[in-house]
Amino acid sequence: MVDTPAIELRGVARFFGERIALRNISVIVPAGATLAVLGRNGAGKSTLLRVLATLLRQHAGEVSLLGEPLPQRAFAVRGRLGLLAHEPLLYRDLSGRENLRYHARLHGVSAERVEDLLREVGMERRGDEPVRLLSRGMVQRVAVCRAVLHDPEILLLDEARANLDPGASELVEPLLGRASGRTRVITSHDPQAALAEADFALGLRDGRPTFSLPADQVTPEHVRELYA
């Protein structure tokens, strides 16, 4: 029996008006593997993540997540995805705990899970402070809790460790890292770090793929060309 890939894209394109955000993107990510999406600012990395998160529809091509075609079966995969993007998706005037409890209700998750996660990222004592009063690193830690609250099978991580100091980065590693066992799509402006934790790599330039290779076959030349 052939395992269904966790993520499968064939000839995916997305436009914003006349601007090409993504064109001809094809990639397959097996379950439990990590795909690093590399590229300069505006290369289309965040757009790709939003398409995978079911927040944007592709204008051409096929997207399949966990065997479900998008956008037709988007409802079947929502709740099995976790997105950690530039915005923390937290209400500034609610506390971290209130935000997480709200998201827990949306995902049908118990309040105990919220407490466990806050403890895991070292935020249990600051969990009752409004998010607007927290440092960016602390907000990011709460956002990590939000992204994994419902134990998603696929994690979409857009600069996930931004604003995290090394200690905090270590704290969230079991939730976001390879050891979490989840299928992951990661973007980073640090290509070496991203490649080090990836199984596959996709290079994007102006929305078009420049390479789609196993991560260990990506050479410094590939990376130089991508960012040149």
């Binding site: 927040l55 915005e87 209400y91 209700r105 949306l106 995902h107």
Partner: protein, 223 residues
């Protein structure tokens, strides 16, 4: 229903914390009564004029609430977080419309007595039960259309303009029915019986737009 309750609870908590919407609506309505007082150059109003002043003021104050309804969702990522959850999209409509209905009800608890003190000639006491019934139906219509329009407007850059530009024309039938239903209640000779025709029109209007909102709301949230 559990999802709608979770969203409603979050919205009410946010309003309690920030007080961004209700105080503005209340202050706006009281200021408008004062402006009418001087603009009409009359110490008191009654009958259809009183009904018009009250209805228009509440409607415009309600538009302030409509404009704020989805701002936190848009600016703080609430839409994305909601869309990522495996829940029925209609829960957002139900929660937001209920929140707006509650805001309007609280507004009226402040604004109607203020209207009675500042402008209304006849006593507010006798027509109050009928007035509450009419305003409840009007609030339902404003809440449903307001939520629909707000969800549409918040996706645009000119959301502060789009809300009133689209919402007010849609609300004209509700405005007419509300004002015509309230007019006889505020007559100088004491309240007349509630005009059933206008109440029925208002109720029908609420039902039709609730169905329209339910049918199209999902599409407003999706890409």
């Amino acid at each position: 229903m559990k999802t709608a309750l979770a969203i409603l609870r979050k919205d009410l908590l946010l309003e309690l914390r920030t007080l961004e919407t209700l105080p503005a609506m209340a202050l706006f309505s009281i200021t408008t009564f004062v402006i009418f007082h001087f603009g009409l150059n009359r110490p008191t109003v009654e009958g259809q004029t009183a009904a018009g002043v009250l209805t228009v003021t509440l409607l415009f104050a309600g538009i302030l609430g409509v404009n704020r309804l989805f701002v936190a969702e848009r600016e703080q990522g609430g839409f994305d977080a909601f869309l990522l959850a495996p829940v029925d999209r209609s829960a957002m409509l139900l929660a937001k419309a209920t929140a707006l209905f509650l805001f309007l009800a609280v507004l009226e608890v402040i604004a109607v007595p203020a209207f009675g003190l500042l402008l209304l000639g006849p006593s507010l006491g006798p027509p109050l039960p009928s007035l509450i019934a009419v305003l409840a139906l009007a609030d339902l219509g404003i809440a449903v259309i307001g939520t629909l329009v707000s969800a549409l407007a918040v996706q645009t850059r000119a959301r502060d303009v789009i809300g009133p530009v689209i919402g007010l024309p849609l609300l004209i039938p509700a405005l007419i029915a509300t004002a015509r239903a309230i007019g006889p209640l505020l007559g100088s000779g004491g309240p007349a019986p509630l005009p059933g025709k206008w109440l029925l029109i208002l109720a029908l209007y609420d039902v039709v737009f609730a169905l329209v909102a339910y049918a199209v709301f999902d599409f407003l949230l999706e890409d």
